[in-house]
């Protein structure tokens, strides 16, 4: 391990990775890797997570292709120094801000989008001219093996390395000195990463999660808008890796009097998208492993929580499948309402008035995304100014990640 890092540092010192032509050649090679291995990628994702090719294309392969293409088209602009204004006092001085690579970068990716979360940061690190060590998650073993075997065939081995392994390898990597660490995962491990980085004053980017709520205020508009709302909620909950996504809708907030309308719409949509029951479930991922499966099953063990199930609830331990499950008003102090769910269970919390959503959301820690289905411009403004989250998306779910410029 130390040898690999020493090699990455040596390579960086030679200055090879700083050249625009090197960066472009690596990005093009990455695009080739993706284009030439789509089937193997689909296979690995199916093996690790039961993802269908459409989901895999939409959330992983397609996203990555777009990211590489976009980066290639903007690279020269991004690398160029930017002029800065100089006050008259300093005439005729000139000033500029110049991007420089940080050096040797460590990327930790997570298991739920094993390709996107490994390669999208890699695209960034390469485009900025760094050398990289990528440590994919061992909880998606087929994807990890694919990356370990395939990346060396396409990219510059002296500058980009992939290391297989579990938490112990991760810990050892964190003892070493990096110029930047990019981490995607849970807040618990995020703290450990930052604490380790502190010893070397290494700056970090931490992509974590939270309970991302969906506020629903569009059920009493037109039937077609209500239908689209339901589709987008279902698509935003069970579409991405059956809810095991940082930006998946965690829970829904809706007015009491509209709850039953919403539940009916959701049930219809779930049946149409995924099947009538757990035996005929399709077009949906499975739970990644036994540990996560057990964690989710435990969330439903609380009798008050179990009582609040209004749809679904069946589980298949052997196949690691939990069917799309809707709960109506589980107790607010239950674990399912205090921890990030990261799975196919959708609590619906009812309020007297939809505006109460704001206080409700503020009573919890800042989520990664707030989804708000509403056409009320005043309400939109209030949500924007009175809540705090990584992102806010109005009237849709998930698509905000496709826009490269936000």
């Amino acid at each position: 391990m130390e040898k690999s890092i020493a090699e990455l540092r040596e390579t960086f010192k030679t200055g090879g990775t700083k050249s625009i032509s090197w960066r472009k050649s690596q990005l093009k090679a990455l695009l080739q890797l993706i284009n030439q291995n789509e089937d193997s990628i689909f296979k690995a994702l199916d093996q690790d997570l039961g993802k269908s090719p459409v989901e895999s294309y939409r959330d992983e392969v397609g996203v990555l292709k777009k990211s590489v293409t976009y980066t290639l088209s903007c690279l020269e602009k991004w690398v160029a120094p930017k002029k800065a204004e100089v006050p008259l006092l300093f005439f005729p001085a000139k000033a500029e801000v110049m991007p420089q690579p940080l050096g040797v970068v460590l990327i930790f990716s997570s298991w739920n989008f094993p390709f996107t979360l490994a390669l999208d940061p890699l695209i960034g690190a390469i485009s900025a001219g760094n050398t990289v060590l990528l440590k994919p998650s061992d909880l998606a073993p087929a994807c990890m093996s694919f990356l370990v075997e395939t990346i060396p065939k396409y990219l510059d081995n002296k500058a980009v390395k992939v290391l297989a392994g579990g938490a112990d390898i991760g810990e050892r990597l964190l003892q070493l000195k990096w110029d930047k660490i990019f981490f995607t995962g849970s807040p618990r491990v995020g703290r450990l990463v930052m604490a380790a980085a502190a010893k070397h004053l290494t700056p970090v980017t931490l992509e974590l999660g939270g309970k991302s709520p969906a506020i629903v205020d569009t059920l009493s508009t037109t039937p077609s808008k209500a239908k689209v709302t339901a589709k987008r909620i279902v698509g935003g909950k069970w579409g991405p890796c059956t809810g095991q996504a940082c930006i998946a809708i965690d829970y829904v907030l809706v007015e009491e009097k509209l709850a039953s309308t919403l539940i009916e719409l959701l049930k219809k949509t779930i049946k149409r998208f995924y099947g009538e029951n757990i035996k005929s479930l399709k077009n949906i991922s499975r739970i990644v492993n036994k540990h996560q499966f057990q964690r989710l099953v435990n969330l439903l063990k609380d009798p008050d929580v179990a009582d609040s199930i209004v749809y679904g609830g069946s589980v298949d331990e052997e196949k690691l499948v939990i069917e799309p499950t809707i709960l109506l008003d589980p107790p607010l102090d239950s674990e399912i309402m205090s921890e990030e769910i990261f799975g196919p269970l959708l609590p619906i919390i009812t309020l007297k008035n939809v505006e109460e959503s704001i206080d409700f959301i503020n009573s919890k820690s800042n989520p990664l995304v707030i989804y708000a289905f509403t056409e009320d411009e005043t309400f939109k403004k209030r949500i924007l100014s009175e809540t705090s989250s990584g992102t806010v998306t109005f009237n849709d779910s998930m698509v905000q990640v496709v826009d490269k410029r936000t």
Binding site: R191, G235, N283, G390, R405
Partner: protein, 493 residues
């Protein structure tokens, strides 16, 4: 009576007290008070008034703490601060506006923007060498971004710390901006709390402690540290101007006790003598024959640092290399501008950040060799300087030297240019501020996407078919033909 009050005021500021302070500020923040443009404007105007009405007191405190010449106090602390306030007042409206972001055909129809929101309750820990500037400049940024603030000034500049505490309480909104004075115990108590951002100015050792404490709460940090800022001096330059600028950046900035002071010089063997002679001449012009008598030099801050610097000077193989200066007065904590020629590269004075009035000159055969020397010297510095008229050398310097900020043909002045981010990289720090960068440092840039209900692409949703896969591929690739096909499909959905 007075004695009793003093004892009461010295009550211990422990974790409980820190928790209460944070709670009070959080309660204030939640009311939305600090978010209003009006509040931010009144605070910044109050700070301007505070600086205007108390200049003599500020100058006196700086003289007490550092023997800082009035010229330096007025210019480098007060004036720069006032400029920061004025810039924020002028530009804040513009900074606060959401920034439109381009969306792509894939999410058509939609619109997107990036909204700046305050992070919440922030902690500013400042240093002793520019006690007013390094305390209040970050506070200007935090106010302009709409946060509630705790400021912890350095206890190593006690007169400044207590004046800052008094002035902030008198002029600014104490329900949202507080000063906590103290040393290690008080700072530790503050660091145990959950903050939404911490901006720390100081050294690498304490920075690690700050970041480790921040890690427990996933609190983002800006660390403004230091390093050995080198000056490369080429030949064929205007030597007089270069020398004066180096002197101004070194001894004119708190007598070398500044994070961006030139730390050491690299020049060619051939040029070294000329350079040393130029220094001797200009130093005498600036500070007289006996610099210890000059009123224009700060003193060393305290006896710890005086001893530290003496140790650097007295190291065997270094003390013999003095070519100018070397005078000291321990009682008055004074060390004269001292220049060394060709100290060993592995001496203490070349290993740690000097932060004082000692200037080693290292010589190389060719000026291009300077870059290797800088790269081998360990951590990336906060600043690096080059004096040259050679275009190629300038380009090589800018492209290969990694430091927080680079200046060609001057020293230190880049910190006054508010369109440039001021911060370090690697050992010299992370994050930056000044100008709009201060506003950004204390803001969360929230991504916002607005979608409508029209144009719901049926092929996002299950049931997933191979046909859908093809169309989805076209849509994501943004190809016009593919998109037309997809839209046609939409009409038939």
């Amino acid at each position: 009576m007075l004695m009793e009050n003093k004892a009461e005021n010295k009550a211990v500021f422990d974790a409980e007290s820190a928790k209460e302070v944070v709670k009070e500020l959080r309660d204030s923040f939640v009311t939305g008070k600090t978010k209003s443009h009006r509040w931010r404007v009144t605070q910044l105007k109050a700070m301007l008034k505070m600086l205007d009405e108390n200049e003599p007191q500020i100058v006196a405190a700086l003289r007490d703490d550092l023997s800082k010449p009035e010229f330096e106090s007025s210019l480098y602390e007060i004036q720069i601060l006032k400029n920061s306030c004025r810039l924020a007042l002028k530009e804040m409206n513009h900074w606060m506006m959401p920034e439109k972001a381009k969306t792509s055909l894939t999410t058509f129809p939609s619109s997107a923007e990036i909204v700046s929101e305050p992070l919440g309750v922030v902690l500013v820990i400042s240093a002793w060498n520019y006690p007013f500037l390094l305390s209040l400049d970050p506070v200007v940024g935090a106010i302009s971004a709409g946060n509630a603030i705790v400021l912890k000034p350095s206890e190593m500049a006690p007169a400044s710390s207590s004046l800052i505490a008094k002035l902030v309480a008198d002029y600014l909104d104490s329900s949202c901006i507080k000063v906590v004075e103290g040393a290690v115990p008080e700072t530790s108590a503050l660091l145990e709390q959950k903050w939404d951002k911490i901006l720390y100015t100081g050294n690498g050792r304490v920075a690690r402690i700050v970041m480790a404490a921040a890690a427990k709460h996933l609190t983002p940090v800006v660390l403004e540290l230091g390093g050995k800022s080198p000056v490369i001096v080429d030949s064929n330059i205007n030597l007089k101007v270069a020398t004066r600028r180096i002197i101004a950046g070194k001894w004119g900035c708190n007598n070398g006790q500044a994070c961006i002071s030139p730390d050491y010089i690299i020049t060619t063997k051939d040029y070294a003598t000329k350079l040393v002679d130029s220094f001797k001449c200009e130093l005498e012009r600036f500070y007289g024959k006996d610099p210890l008598e000059s009123k224009d030099l700060s003193r060393i801050v305290n006896s710890n640092h005086f001893d530290r610097l003496s140790k650097l000077m007295d190291e065997e193989k270094v003390s013999s290399k003095i070519v100018h200066g070397g005078q000291r007065n321990e009682k008055n904590l004074q060390i004269a501008p001292t220049i060394f020629l060709d100290v060993p590269v592995n001496s203490l004075i070349m290993k740690e950040e000097i932060f004082g009035p000692l200037l080693p000159i290292i010589t190389v055969d060719k000026v291009e060799q300077s870059f290797d020397l800088i790269h081998s010297s360990g951590g990336k510095p906060l600043a690096a300087y080059l004096f040259t008229n050679n275009k190629k050398l300038k380009r090589k310097f800018v492209e290969t030297v990694s430091a927080g900020g680079l200046v060609v043909n001057d020293t230190a002045v880049h910190l006054a240019i508010h369109s440039l981010p001021f911060g370090g990289v690697g050992e010299s720090g992370m994050g930056s501020y000044h100008g709009k960068f201060s506003f950004d440092a204390f803001s969360h840039k929230k991504a916002v996407l607005y979608r409508g209900f029209a144009g719901d692409a049926f092929l996002r949703y299950p049931p997933y078919t191979p046909g859908k896969l093809t169309l989805l591929q076209a849509l994501l690739s943004g190809s016009i033909v593919g998109i037309i096909r997809a839209l046609l499909g939409w009409f038939w959905a």
